[in-house]
């Protein structure tokens, strides 16, 4: 049924030639392209959209602008969709939320009758006795009180982000925003105009400014085409400026994209929220704001009802009444809350059309239809005092109650930026009193209500913003003194009813007495009242409850509204999804030059920081066997491991050695060219932060390696110190430029000799801890004889672009010797057999070089190195723990895991850091921190393993394997 559709010009957003059929709660409905779900349903006579959060009361359209929680529906796996914002699409299947049974017949609405058992703050005081009761109640309450349903299996949508830049950002595309954008652009500013609705113009699209009803349309037709034609203005519609952050950084959400907008200056022309009239049953479907009724008519061509009662305290209610009359709605009565007749042409016009007007009266109660599904009638009573009405009333049959009692500024972004608002008792409004630097406000958010004043205000805001953004501007525009703020807000539109259901907060089902009860319990500060009662904490974030709850708090505590203040608004302005926040979620990945070779060889790759490294080669079910085989090949023949991820730094200059002396613990001044030396880096606290090898390639040149995850910090650390020392040294992070492999095992020399002919590889010419530059199968390389795994080994570094060729050449050369690639797991086992520590695994954020038994790597003759003094102080004060090797007292015991505790007499004295089973040695070996008096080799200590079991361990001096180091020096 499309009977309630009005003819054009009503319905500027809909295209009547394009019907669209969708489904709501199992029934098909047809609307037009441009309809929202709610407008299409309203056109079909469906007024009820949801059930309320707590009492499951029927709820319907209230703002028609996506500002309230009444219209939240579920679409497939997407919960909490605002039905008065989301456009209909063909085939859309929409369901109601928070409903048991059906929307029209919700079993849970029995809760509406049990309200007195669900007092304010009931979460905090009910269900907690007897002890443990909450566990039972929690399930039930969560089931009853939830909003939409989250589908944990929902597919990942595509979301992304984009940076935007402009001189002036204008938030809000109503009359003020349009004027601001135009003024700023005229001054040469690069402008972005952000409007949350799909159509520019704001109230110009729906409000009634004149008796004839032509003014808004005319102004819009004048302003909008100029904006759209202006090359300096970019317009974003359907876009939410969702917060303000430092230096005019504004997240703007449009569909699945978040724009990260950086503006030079900002104009907030966000308008204001119409405020509710509080009376009994003011939440029923059919009670709506004047702006909502006008939006339905003007934007969607939908007749909001058949017979209406209008309660108003300003001219906008009369404008709405005229629009209702024009739409063919019978206006039964106007209840004007003001004691004296409101003058002005709109009121006169309504009177002239024969509508009865009751002055000094309000709607005091809505009489519900059966089941609260809508309105049957309105009671209109004379106002006798602040919030009180006469006992006698008139009853008007109607299906629509329209209210117009004032506005509250849409001040969110101004609050985010630190602006302040103070209540003005004369206007009964919060008024802007202080604006942050570089921000302007214009239009009704700035207290301008007269449409001409609004446009002037916008022009001035745009002018100021352009000036703030550094544009050349003309003389400052003027704004009339009377901006029309008087006679807009009623000071007390709250009429409590003895039987309640006089809602202050619709999201949270809070009634007048709930707010008063919260205050009576002592929560008399608005911030406390808000948190205890949850007023303003629902999806609409206090848009319609903040002002009235502050008024109530003020009166109940005997303070003025100004003194009572208001709660703080924080981002986000509108609800935002995690998908939008996550965006494309960039996760940088680094791959070595041999990455694809590893994959081809069946490697299981594991992340190491941003890098991918082979954990082991082979299928997961052969994991431990593969690791064992890989380790055995290194010990018995030859293995090859990709070490490209190691950090590589070129340290050059006449002071290179002096610099290394200062940032590392060892001595480098006399290190000969062609030799490599261990590097240990400590910080100013003596804590180990990295290790590596320094290869001296020239008096002025060291090639320094660092750990995979540490190199970024090492580079930063080096630059930090040399920014202060000013040594003649240049440091370049060349990590990505060098790929590397470690060729290790008794056959390593034979393999290398087959492909490297320009370096004498003999032990005499190229001994352990030497470094050479040469060529391997045509690839230039730096070759270092070091042995992390304790075998004859060559660490070969080559240009990254040639890494694959290097790998291939070595694999071919190694084939006759049974070469196998080995992964990180085998390497960890092999190095543990040698007792070599891994920074970050065997050290933590507090490990100093002495307790890690690295004193051998500290040169005490140097006047200075970073950490030297700290180590001296710690040694003087006494070292508390030592890192030791251990084996198990009973080899049959299960192996401890890493970080299992060392316990003595019930006290923790340390923990294990590395544990593995050595096939080469036939036993479990490990490293652990123990108390210093437990560190002597041969000392027995106990480790608590899983399930609290204690096992015996014995301190064993590493290396466990080849203690004399003969194999690596072959």
């Amino acid at each position: 049924m499309m009977a309630s559709r009005l003819p054009a010009p009503a319905g500027v957003l809909i295209d009547r030639s394009k019907p669209i059929t969708f489904n709501f709660c199992g029934q098909d409905y047809t609307g037009f392209q441009g309809d929202t779900i709610a407008s299409a349903l309203a056109a079909n006579g469906v007024g009820m959209l949801s059930r309320s959060f707590k009492y499951h009361r029927p709820r319907g359209l209230m703002t028609a602008a996506g500002q309230d929680a009444n219209t939240l529906v579920q679409i497939g796996d997407e919960p909490n969709v605002l039905a008065d914002l989301r456009a209909i699409e063909a085939g859309l299947a929409i369901t109601a939320q928070n409903v048991f049974g059906s929307l029209a017949n919700d079993y849970a609405n029995v809760l509406d009758g049990l309200g007195r058992f669900l007092p304010v703050g009931f979460y905090y005081k009910t269900f907690f006795r007897p002890k443990g009761a909450w566990r039972y109640w929690e399930k039930l309450i969560r089931a009853l009180a939830g909003l939409g349903k989250v589908d944990v299996g929902a597919h990942h949508g595509y979301y992304d982000k984009q940076y935007l830049f402009c001189d002036v950002a204008v938030v809000g595309g109503g009359a003020a925003g349009l004027a601001a954008a135009q003024a700023a652009a005229a001054a040469g500013a690069d402008v972005i105009l952000i409007e949350e609705n799909v159509r520019l113009g704001g109230a110009l699209n729906y409000a009634r400014f004149d008796v004839e009803g032509r003014r808004g349309r005319g102004l819009r037709a004048d302003l909008v085409p100029r904006i759209e034609a202006d090359q300096n203005i970019r317009v974003l519609t359907g876009a939410f400026a969702n917060g303000w952050f430092a230096d005019h950084w504004i997240p703007v959400i449009q569909g699945n994209r978040m724009y990260k907008l950086r503006a030079g200056a900002v104009v907030i022309a966000s308008g204001s929220y119409e405020q509710p009239l509080v009376f009994r049953n003011n939440d029923l479907p059919g009670v709506m704001f004047s702006s909502a009724a006008q939006r339905l008519i003007k934007l969607y061509g939908v007749k909001p009802g058949t017979r209406a009662v209008v309660a108003t305290a300003n001219a906008d209610g009369y404008g709405a009444a005229l629009d209702l009359l024009d739409a063919g709605v019978d206006v039964a009565c106007i209840a004007d809350l003001r004691p004296q007749r409101g003058d002005g042409p709109l009121a006169d016009a309504v009177r002239d059309r024969g509508v009865p007007i009751v002055q000094g009266a309000t709607v005091s109660e809505a009489i519900p239809q059966k089941g609260n599904l809508g309105i049957e009638a309105a009671r209109v009573a004379k106002i006798t005092g602040q919030g009180t009405t006469a006992d006698v009333d008139d009853r008007f049959g109607c299906d629509l109650i329209v209210t117009a009692v004032g506005y509250n500024p849409t001040a969110n972004l101004i609050h985010h930026a630190g602006g302040t608002f103070v209540y003005n008792d004369d206007t009964a409004m919060f008024e802007l009193t202080a604006l942050p630097q570089g921000m302007q406000a214009a239009g009704s958010v700035n207290g301008s209500f007269d449409i001409d004043a609004v446009i002037e205000d916008g022009g001035k805001g745009g002018w100021s913003a352009a000036r703030n953004a550094g544009c050349k501007v003309g003389p400052m525009p003027t704004v009339r003194n009377d901006r029309g703020a008087f006679g807009v807000n009623h000071p007390w539109p709250i009429f409590p009813h003895p039987k309640g259901r006089d809602f202050i907060d619709f999201d949270e089902d809070l009634q007048v007495h709930d707010i008063l009860d919260a205050i009576a319990e002592g929560y008399d500060d608005v911030e406390l009242m808000k948190r205890f009662s949850t007023c303003g904490m629902g999806p609409s974030q206090g848009r319609h409850s903040s002002l009235n709850s502050v008024r109530l708090t003020a009166r109940a505590t005997g303070r003025s509204v100004t003194d009572t203040g208001t709660t703080t608004s924080r981002p986000p302005y509108a609800a935002e999804t995690f998908g939008v926040l996550a965006g494309r979620s960039f996760e940088p990945e680094r791959k070595t030059a041999m990455h694809h070779r590893h994959l081809e060889l069946g490697a299981r790759m594991m992340p190491a920081g941003q890098w991918w490294r082979p954990e082991y080669y082979g299928p997961p079910e052969r994991r431990s066997l593969s690791i064992r085989e890989e380790a055995a090949v290194v010990r018995e023949a030859v293995g090859i491991i990709d070490v490209s991820t190691l950090g590589g730094l070129e340290v050059c200059g006449p002071d290179a050695a002096e610099f290394l002396n200062r940032v590392y613990t060892f001595a480098y001044a006399k290190q000969p060219v062609g030799r490599a030396r261990y590097l240990l880096m400590t910080d100013q606290h003596g804590v180990i932060i990295d290790d590596g090898v320094a290869c001296r390639l020239h008096d002025h040149h060291f090639y320094v390696t660092a750990t995979t995850s540490g190199v970024g910090g090492v580079y930063q650390h080096m630059l930090f110190w040399n920014a202060q020392w000013r040594l003649q040294v240049n440091i370049t992070n060349a990590t990505a430029s060098w790929c590397g492999v470690n060729l290790a095992g008794p056959k390593a020399r034979d393999v290398l000799a087959a492909v490297c002919t320009d370096v004498d590889l003999s032990s005499a010419a190229f001994p352990y801890m030497a470094v050479r530059e040469g060529t391997i199968a045509g690839v230039p390389a730096r070759i270092i004889r070091i042995g992390f795994v304790g075998e004859l080994g060559y660490e070969i570094h080559a240009p990254a672009s040639q890494g694959e060729a290097l790998w291939d050449a070595l694999m071919v050369a190694g084939e006759p010797h049974g070469i196998r690639p080995f992964g990180i797991e085998a390497q960890r086992l092999l190095r543990l057999e040698k007792g070599h520590i891994i920074i970050g695994q065997d050290t933590d954020g507090l490990t100093n070089a002495i307790e890690a038994e690295m004193a051998w790597a500290i040169s005490r003759n140097k006047p200075y190195f970073v950490g030297k003094r700290a180590l001296a102080i710690q040694e003087k004060n006494g070292i508390k723990r030592k890192l030791v090797g251990f084996t198990l007292g009973n080899p049959a015991d299960p192996a401890p895991k890493e970080s299992h505790l060392v316990i003595r007499d019930g006290e923790i004295t340390g923990r294990t850091t590395s544990v593995n089973y050595s096939y080469a040695l036939g036993r479990t070996i490990g490293l652990a921190y123990v108390a210093t008096d437990q560190a002597e080799p041969g000392t027995a200590f106990q480790i608590r393993i899983e399930k609290g079991r204690m096992i015996d361990a014995v301190v064993t001096k590493p290396p466990f394997y080849d203690p004399d180091g003969r194999r690596q020096e072959l």
Binding site: F245, W249, H685, Q716, A723, Q724, R726, P863, A870
Partner: protein, 97 residues
Amino acid sequence: MKILNCPLNGPRNISEFVWGGEVKEHPALDCTDEQWVDYAVLENNTAGVVREWWYHVPTAYWIIAERNTVTDEIIRTYPARELFKDRVEFPAPAVKP
């Protein structure tokens, strides 16, 4: 997001930078242990204008910023060399400890 004005790269999102702590004067090598601990461990937490190290990650560039820790206003940024003009030497101590 806040903007920090890099002396080399101009105004940039502060996410491009890493904070490096307050600029502190390195004590003489023969200072007392207490003086050393004060330098290396204790922070002043000044409420007011402080000089801080900031590191621009994409250019690996350490700079100094003067920032008001109360208002979070960045007052001035400049290259570290404006503060650290000369080569620092650590002569060997005259007497062996």
